[in-house]
Assembly symmetry: C2
Homo-oligomer: 214 residues x 2
Amino acid sequence: MGAVKNKRMPRAVREQQMLDAAVRTFGQRGYRAASMDEIADLAGVSKPLVYLYLNSKEDLFTSCIRREAAALMAAVRAGVQPDLPADRQLWDGLRAFFAHTAQNPDGWTVLHLQARTHGEPFAAEVTAMREELVAFVTQLIVVAAREAHRDPSLAEGEVAGLAEALVGAAESLAAWANATPGVSAKQAAATLMNFAWAGLGNLMDGRPWVPPKQ
Amino acid sequence: MGAVKNKRMPRAVREQQMLDAAVRTFGQRGYRAASMDEIADLAGVSKPLVYLYLNSKEDLFTSCIRREAAALMAAVRAGVQPDLPADRQLWDGLRAFFAHTAQNPDGWTVLHLQARTHGEPFAAEVTAMREELVAFVTQLIVVAAREAHRDPSLAEGEVAGLAEALVGAAESLAAWANATPGVSAKQAAATLMNFAWAGLGNLMDGRPWVPPKQ
């Protein structure tokens, strides 16, 4: 039915519809179990057209990963305003991250779970996005420390580690929030701020946590 | 050569040698590229003996994941003494976690990367260990909050979220620390304590981070 109705759509629009259907199918069924028949049906097109436009199941999955990764990065970047105070920037970034992963649960499953589970080429696509996210957060922490005139000597390696910890915590929490009924995006962001902000704030003020003597 | 020398070893000992060789090979080459020939060579036994004892490459990999997961959990449990103060327990647990992942980089690569990248049955093995780790950390936070008479009402869902965040941060940091020259296990643990402890401490004292009004 959709196939007839959509006949005169531009290729770009139709490709997005195919990708929408594919993300949903890969996210809900998993990469292996998802069938090209189901994806074509859901997109309202013929299976040969999916192959014509997106080549193979592997290439279609790669296109899904790239689109979802770009959308998540764009959402986080759009959420942060560089002229606001540091804790506000982090809060806004986390709100944007958890709002996006909550609103796109299938996209997040594709990125966080499916892309990592089905071989190295797919996993490498997600690694690239993750590195971009870590670089963005690292820069946010560096600028926050500098602009607040807090601890300008906060070591580069320490900041890189903090950014890794923050991104790892956010990924883990997003998967948990999506799988746990009643946890909102705002709650997940607040949990991470509670966990992280006071620690980061103290550190930037030059008051690190001191290990016990023994 | 080893095959002759090891001829009279008990089966259990020889299996551990095969698993040692397999963890090293899977960790360094990756699951797909690792060959049973190489594993048998490294273990100093014949390839048929590896198949006789451990059945198939899939089963051997599963045995590696299970052994490494159990060893990591045991190291963390052994590191924590329940009668010490809360921040000390967390510090000790993190020290044990990062020391173990630093001393067993191939084991950690098998758990964190390889097992997650090569299909759902392997990924499920790691998920089981991760759930055990999250439950352990959750319990640690709950007991800490209760024993310190800090915030007995710290909501269960909030604690579960904090535990997810902490485990996600630790996983991410361990991978980063192993891949970054010059980062010691102690530094990685201190980074995570800096990141997390002040936040957790404030939260338990009933001083959560407050989101900006708007």
